[in-house]
Amino acid sequence: MPQKAASQSLVPWLLQRITGLFLAFFLVTHLNVHHLFHDITVEGIISFALVQERLTASFWWQVYYFLFVPMVVYHALNGIWEIIADFRVSTGWSFLFKAMFWILGIVLIVVAAITLSNLF
């Protein structure tokens, strides 16, 4: 049975690299602020009020999450797609997966945007 080459086009490959580099910066910042340097003995458990206080501390957090969320969603879903593509799936499955990931990606970004708009 002839198989489809497990190739991917240049643009998604490059976008995966570029978003990856941005994510290295975004994740170190995000983890430091919300996970690692969250001192439970001083700040207590994470609550709505605490997150709101952190996010409204600077206007730049809005810019930050506006860029971060779409990039991380793209990077995650495109990454999973690359793994699936490596298994040389048929054209039908390929279409199904792509459609599924596009829908999931848009849903995730919209849900995250509504969530953030409630916290800002």
Partner: protein, 137 residues
């Protein structure tokens, strides 16, 4: 070729190529899948904020305890393994330095160990339930 045969071929490939490149390739895929699953859960848990402060605090209260603090260490390990290895791949590719990929692997291993020691120090108070009572918020 059936999917099961493809998986079998993959397993054989791993077994035949026991080297740093292959190891980090699989490490990148496994952490990538794990982090993607976490991302979906993370957005889902935080979306409780849409229901207002009460629903957010209730949901966040369920995921803040020593058990999740230990899982969080695994998450951070996954993030940094994927991040450092991703940077290694990018440097190897963009600077045509494939001869140095093994050296880079050991450099990122050292950075990873340092990051994880810092992570454990910072996470330490979250491993004890008594630290979750009280709090400023």
């Amino acid at each position: 070729m059936k999917f099961s045969e493809k998986l079998k071929g993959t397993a054989q490939d791993v077994n035949l190529n026991r080297n740093i490149g292959n190891f980090s390739f699989w490490l990148h895929r496994i952490t990538g899948i794990g982090l993607s699953i976490y991302l979906v859960m993370h957005i889902f848990v935080l979306s409780s904020a849409i229901g207002g402060p009460e629903s957010f605090d209730k949901r966040m209260g369920q995921v803040q305890n020593p058990f999740f603090a230990v899982l969080e260490v695994l998450l951070i390990a996954g993030v940094f393994l994927h991040m450092l290895n991703g940077l290694r791949i990018t440097i190897t590719d963009f600077f045509a330095w494939s001869r140095g990929h093994k050296t880079l692997f050991w450099i990122i291993t050292v950075i990873f160990i340092a990051v994880m020691i810092l992570t454990l120090v910072l996470q330490w108070p979250k491993f004890f339930m008594e630290n979750y009572t009280g709090g400023g918020n």
